[in-house]
């Protein structure tokens, strides 16, 4: 463990020297995140420098192998690095579906050529990815996706429609579930395919949300030609890749239950709670739940890294974490009172509170609804009988 202490000291010193002060401020809103991509939008020079320095060390993906742009750290070192980043208040340098979803799936199912081609780009934040799973008739029942993908000898031909594709209009590439065998039982005819959003025939149309933002799109594919080597895993066995990726998506979304800095909600709202004993009690109960969930997250990550986690465990995390995050924002709204209702005003920072509150309501829908997660736990962990 002496090595780990050395690593901790070095990591701390490096963060101290390299993380700009501005990147140690708490995140204020979504625009404070850096998403990378072909045409990256940096909010400041500090944000750019921070992302680039972390990427150069492989620390945007600390536990990926070095040859794919990662930091090559052991699970224990990765944990230490995260602790040190948290202690320094360092922001996540790069938000990326590539890192949290596609990367792990490529590491497990990709060919060597695919790993060499895509992973380093993801690690450096050069390509922004979107997820083409849902369709108008395939939401919870995801395995009923119908987007057609035909083998045309020297290429694949894709036709169909996706929906709820977050940031499709800003993405460079898409990872997509398509039907390659319409005759097979629904789970057996799906493939997992990657392509460039600039390919002719791809178009997107934003959908406005109740939060007033429009991060999602309808995405249309009209005779899109995709090179043969862009299917991940075996043809018609894409469901395995899809499920593996979903596990990572759920893990990522469950992280929202932690609510960023980990500061107690009650501490943040203390001033407002003084004259409201019932609200104070509700917030205190919430803080108990939040701290207990934090321990659960730590345990989950530790078990995952040690290969001890049950494959359905991300469903528990996703369910509990997202319900918790919704409860957090209900309480923030209640504590904020009429001030928190201001949708457009200087003082409300452009309606930060109500917009975030509305956004969290999607947590228990995106990535598989709470009902679907509970169904998975009932079936795969409790082994309750099917209908």
């Amino acid at each position: 463990m002496a090595d780990l202490e050395t690593f901790r000291r070095e990591a701390r010193a490096w963060l101290e020297a390299n993380c700009p002060a501005e990147m140690r401020e708490p995140v204020r809103d979504e625009s404070d995140y850096c998403w990378g991509g072909r045409n990256p939008l940096f909010k400041s020079d500090a944000q750019k420098a921070w992302m680039e320095r972390m990427a150069a060390r492989g620390w945007t993906v600390p536990d990926w192998p070095r040859e794919y742009g990662g930091g090559g750290l052991s699970p224990a070192e990765t944990k230490v690095l995260r602790q040190e980043m948290a202690a320094a208040g360092a922001r996540n340098p790069l938000m990326s579906f590539g890192i949290s979803m596609l990367g792990p799936a490529l590491l497990k199912y990709g060919t060597e050529a695919q790993k060499k081609r895509f992973l380093p780009e993801i690690a450096r934040g050069e390509i922004r990815w979107c997820q083409g799973y849902s369709e108008p008739n395939a939401g919870s029942d995801l395995a009923s996706v119908a987007t057609k993908c035909e083998d045309r000898g020297d290429h694949w031909l894709v036709n169909g429609q996706k929906v709820w594709t977050s940031y499709a209009d800003k993405a460079d590439w898409i990872f997509c579930l398509v039907r390659t065998d319409p005759e097979a039982p629904k789970h057996k005819g799906i493939s997992f395919i990657l392509f460039d959003m600039r390919t002719p025939g791809v178009s997107t149309k934003p959908i406005l949300l109740i939060s007033g933002n429009s991060p999602f799109c309808e995405t249309f594919f009209d005779d899109v030609k995709v090179p043969k080597d862009q299917v991940v895993g075996e043809v018609n066995k894409g469901w395995d890749v899809a499920k593996y990726l979903l596990g990572h998506e759920r893990e990522m979304i469950s992280g929202m239950g932690l609510g960023g800095t980990g500061e107690s909600l009650g501490a943040a709202l203390a001033e407002r709670l003084k004259d409201d004993p019932i609200l104070r009690a509700d917030v205190a109960r919430f803080d108990v739940d939040a701290m207990a969930f934090r321990a659960m997250s730590e345990r989950f990550i530790d078990e995952l890294k040690a290969g001890r986690a049950h494959p359905a465990q991300p469903s528990i995390m996703k369910y509990a974490g997202t319900e918790l995050n919704k409860a957090r924002h209900e309480l923030i709204m209640a504590a904020g009172g009429s001030g928190a209702l201001e949708w457009e005003s200087e003082r409300s920072k452009g309606g930060k509170a109500p917009r975030e509150w509305l956004r969290t309501k999607a947590n228990s829908i995106e990535g598989g609804t709470s009902e679907i997660q509970l169904g998975i736990v009932a079936k795969h962990i409790l082994e309750l009988p099917g209908t």
């Binding site: 107690s264 009650g266 501490a267 709202l269 203390a270 709670l273 003084k274 104070r280 009690a281 917030v283 205190a284 109960r285 803080d287 108990v288 739940d289 701290m291 207990a292 969930f293 321990a295 659960m296 730590e298 345990r299 989950f300 530790d302 078990e303 040690a306 001890r308 528990i316 369910y319 509990a320 009902e371 997660q373 509970l374 169904g375 736990v377 009932a378 079936k379 962990i381 409790l382 082994e383 309750l384 009988p385 099917g386 209908t387």
Partner: protein
């Protein structure tokens, strides 16, 4: 330290699980001592076996003949106690009181008996119906070279069979802990059977004279020791609650797989599946919080106080949910004495109250967080 059991701890768990299921089972212990209306509420023979297994020495230093292990290990044994509703002085004697006597001459006096599973020790803290250790009214006045204790205590678990009591009293200069032996003049003990058939005594101290040696630690400095003692007890109770809740859930999930209504297994109904899955998730979170609290306690970390309160509150809530859902999903049979699930409901209620309920600990979390 990773937040799961090490190989050694997993081995201890397997041993404790096997032992408690065989020797501490509901039929052999809980029902037997309840049905004979035993005044102690537990079997001394099993307590001796605890000694032979080494469980009683988990928190006693090796130099004093114990195993020198930590709170995680004590929690492992308590979870199995919880699963089997095993009546035993383990939590109060081998966890809380052992912590109180650590490093004192009282330890030398009582540890050998505790190690052997012969001595029973109890903790006299609560005075009213709710746990309020911040406001202890019992007084200890100086008298000669000793003290004179006056006041009342209640909810003194295993008080009716205890050889010695750790008593918290106000000495005007602060709080002081005393070790008071059974049979001391002026000390009256009334054993009270609780809802779960365990015994929680009421104690009446009518100018009980003890000499200066009875003081545990320093006069007026008992707060700190009491904090350690209660932390140990609360974390232990959290583990026992996790055990109670886990077993209630296991019985319920089994029942869902056996009972048929409307021509199918009731476990096929999604409304019940989702409630069972929610329950499972709450219990897993409580388990993680409890393990975290015990790791922090063993490391003597600063955040331990907070995490212990989180663990006690969360495991209390999760276990309460487990027993209530358990009885409900068993239907009518869940209300019968013959079937065990209802016994879990009673034990949960008592453990929830012991060392502070979920509201008490949520309030504490709020205060520690500065609101």
């Amino acid at each position: 330290m990773p937040l799961y059991l090490t190989d050694d701890q997993a081995m201890l768990r397997d041993t404790a699980r096997e032992f408690m299921a065989a020797e501490g089972s509901i039929a052999k212990q809980y029902r037997k001592y309840r049905d004979m209306n035993c005044k102690d509420g537990f079997g001394h023979a099993l307590w001796k076996q605890f000694g032979e297994m080494g469980f009683t020495g988990i928190l006693i230093d090796e130099a004093d003949g114990g195993l020198g292990l930590g709170h995680v290990e004590a929690g492992i044994v308590l979870e199995e106690i919880g699963r089997n509703l095993t009546p035993s002085p383990f939590l109060v004697t081998a966890v809380a009181v052992v912590e109180a006597l650590r490093g004192t001459r009282h330890g030398e006096r009582w540890y050998p008996g505790i190690l052997a599973g012969e001595t029973v020790a109890a903790l006299a803290v609560d005075e009213g119906s709710k746990h309020r250790p911040e406001a202890i009214a019992m007084t200890a006045e100086r008298s000669g070279n000793g003290f004179r204790l006056s006041g009342r205590k209640q909810f003194v678990v295993q008080g009716a069979s205890a050889d010695v009591f750790v008593v918290a009293a106000d000495t005007t200069d602060g709080l002081t802990l005393f070790s008071v032996e059974k049979g001391t003049k002026g000390l009256e003990i009334e054993g009270v059977r609780l809802a779960d058939a365990s015994i929680g005594a009421r104690l009446e101290f009518d100018r009980v004279e003890v000499d200066a040696d009875a003081v545990i630690g320093e006069v007026g400095r008992g707060r700190d020791v009491l904090r350690r003692v209660l932390n140990a007890g609360r974390a232990g109770a959290a583990s026992e609650l996790v055990g109670v809740g886990s077993q209630a859930m296991a019985m319920t999930v089994d029942y869902l797989k056996q009972r048929k209504q409307f021509g199918r297994l009731i476990g096929e109904f999604q409304a019940l599946q989702h409630r069972a899955a929610h329950l499972y998730s709450e219990l897993e979170i409580a388990r993680a919080a409890t393990l975290k609290a015990q790791q922090l306690l063993s490391e003597d970390a600063e955040e331990a106080d907070m995490m212990v309160s989180v663990a006690k509150a969360k495991s209390g809530q999760a276990s309460a949910l487990a027993v209530q859902e358990g009885v409900q999903m068993h239907g009518g049979i869940g209300m019968t004495d013959e079937y065990d699930i209802g016994l879990y409901m009673k034990r949960d209620r008592v453990l929830n109250e012991l060392f502070g309920d979920a509201s008490y600990h949520a309030d504490k979390v709020a205060r520690l967080n500065g609101y």
